[in-house]
Amino acid sequence: MIRLEKRPTPSRLLTGLTPILAVLLTMIVGGLMFWILGKPPVEAIRIIFWDPLFDPNFAAYSRPQLLVKAGPLILIAIGLSMGFRAGIWNIGAEGQYIMGAIFGAAAALAVYPKESALIFPAMIIAGAFGGWLWAMIPAILRTRFNTNEILVSLMLVYVAESILASVSQGLLKNPEGYGFPGSRNLQQYPSAANVEILPNSGMHWGVVAAFIAVIFAYVLLTRHTRGFEIRLTGEAPKAARFAGVNPTRIIVFCLGLSGALAGMAGMFEVAGPAGQITIDFNSGYGFTAIIVAFLGRLHPIGILLASLLMALTYIGGELAQLMLGLPGASIQLFQGMLLFFLLATDVFTNYRIKLGRTKLGGSQ
């Protein structure tokens, strides 16, 4: 019989090793899946993981895309990881991302076509505020009426999507857009454009903000009281109360921070890579960031790496669809496997396998 036995302390080696193990297992099983689909498995894996970075034909386009795609994932996942650590489940980052984009774009469009160096910073603040505001709804409902923040934040995504559809056809619609839904293109509005800082690097201000968020989160979690309180609340809520942690404050802080960061990510996206508010502006970053947060072990550095990896599978996945005609669903399945194998291998950081006879009762 195979049994799982709880380790006295979590294995440090495995905590670092399981993400790598999960990636390897995903490659093997994913390759097997591609093979069953009648595609060359080794080539498919190579196209997904290698070609976007090193193939002379694609790298020039793909490499900058890596940061463009990873930037919002990092920003959102860093915020989410704070809440997840404290046992506060914000599933609605997608909605906060949309609201941030709307608020950020609205701030710019309100003063269009004035030019000022203050416009872009104001947009960042407006974007963060929009996301924060949207996250405060589940926060207040949770702290006042003890509603479940998972459901409320998730359902608010659909409300945000409706608002997005409404404003792109109404309030924020481009008056010179020949009746097409969608706002003015902020890329063509110099004071509001989120430009590439280094040419062909994909590095825009959102990526800079993401890196700052990583450092901020790292310092907060390891050095600051608030970070300690967040971890304590997640580990042992009763002990946290005993230590003097105010649960309401932690809920408001975690939801607010993740909302603000998601809102910022939305604003950077609308002012940069996307350029304008459209009906289908959002592309699921808010949901993918949940996977990223866990793939990165809720650790800031881990999230940075996991975002880059996830961005790579997006770009590589698109490339594989193009080159090998792989179905899009198989790429999503491939990404899903990553989380699946991570969770599966995760068990071994807290448990070890024991081979032996069946026994009832455990320790003495």
Partner: protein, 504 residues
């Protein structure tokens, strides 16, 4: 070997890294009350789990009434005639007594028949119990009766009892002992696990003492002294806590008509609790678990909000203050539940040290934590309280109960509290560790702090407290000097024996 009921020969059970039972042999005769003595981790639980079929021995034999006996699971043990009352009850609070008992039976009779049987057994053995009451409304002592009656309905030949008196008032202990003696006279053997030596001397015919998984001696308790048994159990002599004469100082903490509503359905509301504590005083608060002990601690620590004016500390009203500010003023607490309340199980000892010590130890500056200082403080606690652990970076859950308890108490004591409130400071802690914790509390009071010890262990309270009060259903009795009280009076303060009136 004809006359023995259960004979155990060379029973061994090893777990990774520890031999829980090392060639243990013992014999229990018909109608014998056999004590199993030992510290926490000595292997008592493993041994009885093997007898009850919960754990399979690695080697060794058991014979029951001369037959080979190797129960693969508890139901086989029960069919053979072995029954067990666990220390932690497995009862559903929302169901009635009869329903709970039916749940544990293989072929339960109809509820009416069962209720009648329960009444019969409870009358025969003097264990007052109403089969139709909801378990959630029962006292700990009554819940234990449910478990005992559940066993007696099977007509066991051997009844195993794991620390049965830890939750009982003295009167309830008397009732229990009467029942056990009656069972004994009818020929039922009892294997009685305890670390309360006086009890064992009063009740048991033979005592087997386990230490580090080995049988270190079989004694006749009535002829051995308690000290002799204790030293055999610990394997060394240890100092009993020393209480010195002292004068009490001014009032530090004054509780005036404290009312706290229960937070959940089976919690206890505190009703008009009033007391005060002076510098140098140890106030013992007794009572059976679940009578408001947790609620009292949480109201004092600041986890539970209370009405203003109820708590006065150093002549200032602190009722509205959160835990953090109360700590800064010198009011510290150590809750009962070690893992999850007093300490975060998966966090390191350093993190657990800073959890309550950040303010008073100056380990926080502008919101940033001083980890080097925290590590040093954790190290100090480990050194001063002899906490056995490889180091400060080990998770709290990797420590044994006794060691973690020493850490939790040490963490608060080393912060120089003005008033320290501890709830069940030595619950599940071995004798030597318990003695050192009690000594630390006495020293603290000696140095001018007020100490409130909430405990179910009356011996402990009698040993260290100056004054005594008891919690019963959320009400605190009048506070009286410990020295003036007899055991009977203490029992009455604790609420006497629950349910006696109902039967008589």
């Amino acid at each position: 070997m004809q006359e023995s009921l259960l004979h155990i020969e060379g029973l061994t059970k090893a777990y990774p890294g520890v031999v829980a039972n090392d060639t243990v042999s013992l014999t229990i005769g018909h109608g014998e009350v056999h004590a199993l003595l030992g510290e926490n981790g000595a292997g008592k639980s493993t041994l009885v789990k093997m007898i009850y079929g919960l754990v399979k021995p690695d080697s060794g034999q058991m014979t029951f009434k001369g037959q080979d006996y190797a129960p693969p699971k508890p139901s086989v043990a029960r069919q053979t005639g072995v029954a067990m009352v666990f220390q932690h009850f497995s009862l559903f609070e929302a169901l009635t007594v009869a329903e709970n008992i039916a749940l544990g039976m293989e072929n339960p009779p109809a509820q009416n028949d069962l209720a009648r049987q329960i009444k019969e057994v409870s009358q025969t053995y003097g264990l007052p119990l109403d089969p139709l009451r909801t378990v959630g409304t029962l006292s700990a002592g009554e819940r234990q009766r449910v478990e005992i009656i559940r066993c007696l309905l099977q007509n066991p030949k051997l009844l195993i009892m794991d620390e049965p008196t830890s939750v009982l008032t003295p009167q309830e202990v008397d009732i229990l002992f009467k029942t056990l003696r009656q069972l004994k006279s009818e020929g039922t053997s009892i294997l009685y696990i305890s670390h309360k030596l006086e009890e064992i001397r009063a009740l048991c015919d033979t005592a087997t003492i386990l230490r580090h998984g080995k049988n270190v001696g079989t004694k006749t308790p009535s002829t051995a002294t308690a000290r002799e048994l204790a030293e055999l159990m610990v394997g060394a002599s240890f100092d009993s806590p020393q209480k010195k004469e002292k004068d009490l100082g001014q009032t530090l903490l004054k509780i005036d008509a404290l009312n706290v509503a229960a937070t959940d359905h089976f919690g206890t509301s505190l009703k008009d609790v009033s007391f005060e504590i002076k510098a140098g005083e140890i106030l013992g608060i007794g009572g059976v678990a679940g009578n408001g002990q947790d609620e009292l601690l949480m109201a004092l620590s600041g986890e539970q909000s209370v009405t203003s004016g109820a708590i006065e500390f150093d002549a200032t009203d602190i009722s509205h203050l959160p835990p953090h500010d109360r700590r800064l003023r010198g009011l510290l607490c150590a809750p009962e539940e070690r893992l999850g309340h007093a300490a975060a199980p998966n966090m390191s000892l350093t993190e657990n040290a800073i959890m309550t010590a950040a303010d008073r130890k100056g380990l926080r500056k502008n919101g940033f934590l001083n980890w080097a200082g925290a590590r040093q403080f954790a190290q100090d606690v480990i050194a001063a309280f002899d906490v056995r652990t490889p180091g400060t970076e080990n998770a709290a859950r990797s420590l044994s109960g006794g060691n973690l308890q020493k850490f939790v108490i040490g963490r608060e004591v080393l912060q120089n509290p003005k008033v320290l409130i501890v709830n069940q400071p030595t619950w599940g802690v071995d004798a030597a560790a318990a003695a050192s914790i009690r000594q630390a509390l006495l020293d603290l009071a000696q140095n001018g702090a007020g100490v409130i010890v909430i405990s179910q262990d009356l011996d402990e309270l009698i040993e260290i407290s100056d004054n005594f009060g008891a919690l019963n259903e959320g009400r605190l009795s009048a506070i009286k000097p410990m020295a003036s009280l007899s055991l009977d009076e203490i029992g009455l303060m604790m609420g006497g024996s629950h349910g006696m009136e109902a039967m008589q």
